[in-house]
């Protein structure tokens, strides 16, 4: 599904290298977790994959279902099936959440040569998905993320994911700022989307989220590359011993 090879990235404005040869392969149906200390390049990886400006890819490739992602505009990546749940979902005053969702869904469908969804079908779809995430009608009516609590913002990200039905979902520290109940709600939302045709890349600092979203593979990222890969037990090891021992061992 997602095939990243030898990815090197630096900041455009300054000569700061952030990713130094990331190799990662995620198959359809799998859930991979990336853990790592602050500044290891986890969020940069997610932004580069989604196509945020300000980064320069100096080497390497990232393919989604065989297509080179790094050449595409952000909207084309989305239409191709990539979704990034933001660590800090953006507030957009003046743009209604429903308008936003519908514009996004129909733009993606159009880009893929599919029929746009009718207003009635769309409303039905949103209501059904919103209910399971405990998102009320008021949240749907408000401008995108404006006045939302931290938990509401993250639930709104998962709602978008549920409606857009991407093939490859990247969750960037979706657990940050969530209390236990909210985390459970978000994890349930993610788990409901797990299926054989979809893959997840879950970026997190902590083991906590992985208790709810069980990964198949866990990667440890440090200094801009993946330094260790293992099973779910690797996350537990980090939780118990911290990163220091692990990183010392790698060196």
């Amino acid at each position: 599904m997602l095939e990243i090879k030898n990815l090197h990235v630096k900041l455009q404005e300054e000569d700061k290298v952030i990713l130094r040869g990331v190799d990662l392969s995620v198959e359809a149906g799998e859930v991979h977790a990336i853990m790592g200390p602050n500044g290891s390049g986890k969020s940069t990886l997610s932004y580069v994959l989604a196509g945020r400006e300000g980064y320069e890819v100096t080497e390497g490739s990232a393919r989604l279902a065989g297509e080179e992602l790094l050449e595409m505009e952000p909207e084309a990546r989305a239409a191709a099936g990539l979704f990034l749940a933001f660590q800090y979902p953006v507030e957009i005053p003046g743009v209604g959440n429903m308008t936003f969702l519908r514009t996004a869904l129909n733009a993606q469908r159009k880009a893929r040569g599919e029929e746009e969804m009718s207003a009635g079908d769309f409303l039905k779809l949103v209501r059904e998905k919103a209910r399971s995430l405990k998102i009320d009608a008021d949240m749907l009516k408000r401008p995108v993320n404006v006045g939302f609590s931290g938990g509401e913002k993250k639930r709104n990200e998962i709602l978008q994911m549920a409606i857009l039905e991407p093939k490859m979902c990247i969750l960037d520290e979706t657990d940050s700022g969530l209390d236990v109940d909210a985390m459970k709600l978000v994890a349930d939302g993610v788990n409901a989307l797990r299926d054989a045709g979809r893959a997840f890349l879950v970026i997190t600092h902590y083991q906590r989220l992985l208790d709810h979203i069980r990964p198949d593979v866990v990667h440890i990222m440090a200094g801009g590359r993946i330094v260790k890969t293992g099973g779910p037990d690797l996350a537990l090891e980090v939780e118990t011993n911290g990163y220091a021992d692990l990183l010392a061992e790698v060196k």
Partner: protein, 428 residues
């Protein structure tokens, strides 16, 4: 005195070819206006009130030539609203193209017909509100209008109007120089909507005087037309009674030079006055909103909401003032002026002012200038929204507070569609 002399010389040149219509109640009002005007002379670039907007093109003896713009790619503004249409072509009333005024369920007369009578209700309005509005700031172009307006409508509503009145201004001649003066009087408890649309002329000078009596409600929405070469100076003078409502919204897209002045006096307690505008300029465009709201009664609310989208060297100007007089306690005044600069060549010049002589009031004002929020743009694109549509969404979001001032949802939707059309045409 050399400056005043120059202004008076400019005035003499400007009015040399104009006729002061004599006779009737209007004749007397015109003569008084000419006296006011003569004492002031015409505005000049060095006047503080014209600091950001060069009035030269508005005061030349002849109107600068303006190409006529073909706007047939869009339905006319307010086309889906059931309204009574009154059409002016280059400032001349076109009865054949207009609807029967009686359908509006209010009194409507042409200034040209009614002005010659001995007495008329409009005597209490025509030039009267304009004259009050000359203090503390001179507005000579409004006095020029009172003196030399060639036509206009006098509208008096005593109850709920049956339909909105739409004043449609067509522009056909490249050299037309139109001066129109309308008076609207809402008697106690009356309610009326006035729609204005179109470029009107190569150069347009318009005054609208509105009296909103106790308990009356006045709605005003205008779309100033897409002609790029046109120039316009407009004034609204409003006097508002108690428990009354005044709402005005203006859409301005294109136009080489537009100066819209709004002067409102809140004279009765518990009234509301909102004035809002959305303007879009691409290239050689200057749009100036100059607003002066006086609170002279208790517990009144006023809002000024102006949003400007500018690109390719366009200029936006805002001069807005809230004056709270002594005794106008519990005043709630709000003023916001914002510009969205789509490139680095455009500029926004703002002068917000508050002057408060009462001690128990709430007044806030803000003015900002900024670019499209790149983070929001990326967020939208990351969800599959193409860049062009994402930008339009963000521009419309920026304008939302101003459009939100339009009470009628059908009209708001029409304005929104026009803005989207503009954005689509001006993508590059």
């Amino acid at each position: 005195m050399a400056i005043l002399q120059a202004k008076q010389d400019a005035l003499a040149a400007r009015i040399a070819g104009l006729t002061l219509v004599a006779g009737g109640w209007a004749g007397a009002a015109r003569r008084e206006a000419l006296d006011r005007l003569t004492a002031m002379g015409l505005p000049a670039k060095r006047d503080e009130y014209w600091r950001y907007t060069d009035p030269s093109a508005l005061i030349t003896p002849e109107a600068p030539r303006a190409a006529v713009f073909d706007d047939s790619d869009e339905a006319p503004p307010f086309d889906m609203i059931d309204r009574v249409k009154l059409v002016f072509v280059d400032g001349v009333f076109d009865a054949a193209a207009s609807d029967d005024p009686a359908l509006a369920g209010v009194e409507i007369e042409r200034l040209a017909d009614a002005g010659g009578k001995d007495i008329h209700w409009a005597q209490g309005l025509y030039g009267v509100l304009e004259a009050r509005g000359q203090n503390p700031v001179e507005r000579p172009l409004a006095a020029l209008n009172t003196a030399f307006a060639t036509d206009g409508v006098l509208i008096r509503a005593t109850g709920q109007a049956a339909k909105p009145i739409a004043l449609i201004y067509r522009h056909i001649s490249e050299t037309s120089d139109a001066l129109l003066h309308h008076c609207v009087k809402l008697e106690p408890g009356a309610e009326l909507t006035v729609l204005e649309s179109g470029p009107a002329a190569a150069r347009f000078n318009k005054v609208l005087e509105v009296e909103v009596a106790d308990g009356a409600r006045f709605h005003h929405i205008r779309a100033q037309g897409r002609d790029h070469d046109r120039r316009a100076v407009t004034h609204i003078f409003a006097r508002i009674g108690a428990d009354a409502l005044f709402k005005s919204f203006t859409l301005t897209a294109n136009g080489r030079l537009t100066r819209n002045e709004t002067v409102i006096e809140l004279l009765g307690d518990d009234s509301v006055a909102h004035v809002a505008g959305a303007s879009m300029g691409d290239g050689d465009f200057l749009h100036d909103d100059t607003v002066f709201i006086t609170h002279a009664a208790e517990r009144c609310e006023s809002r000024q909401v102006f949003k400007k989208v500018l690109k390719h060297g366009a200029t936006g100007v805002f001069q807005g003032k809230i004056l709270v007089k002594q005794g106008a306690q519990k005043t709630d005044g709000y003023q916001i002026s914002q510009s969205l600069l789509l490139d680095e060549d455009s500029q926004f010049l703002a002068k917000p002012e508050l002057e408060i002589y009462a001690d128990d009031v709430k007044c806030s004002h803000g003015s900002t200038s900024g670019a499209i929020d790149e983070t929001a743009l990326f967020y939208l694109r990351s969800r599959g929204v193409p860049k062009r549509i994402a930008q339009s969404l963000l521009v419309l979001a920026f304008l939302a507070e101003a459009i939100g001032e339009i009470a009628d949802e059908a009209i708001a939707e029409d304005i929104r569609a026009r803005l989207e059309g503009w954005l689509h045409r001006h993508e590059s």
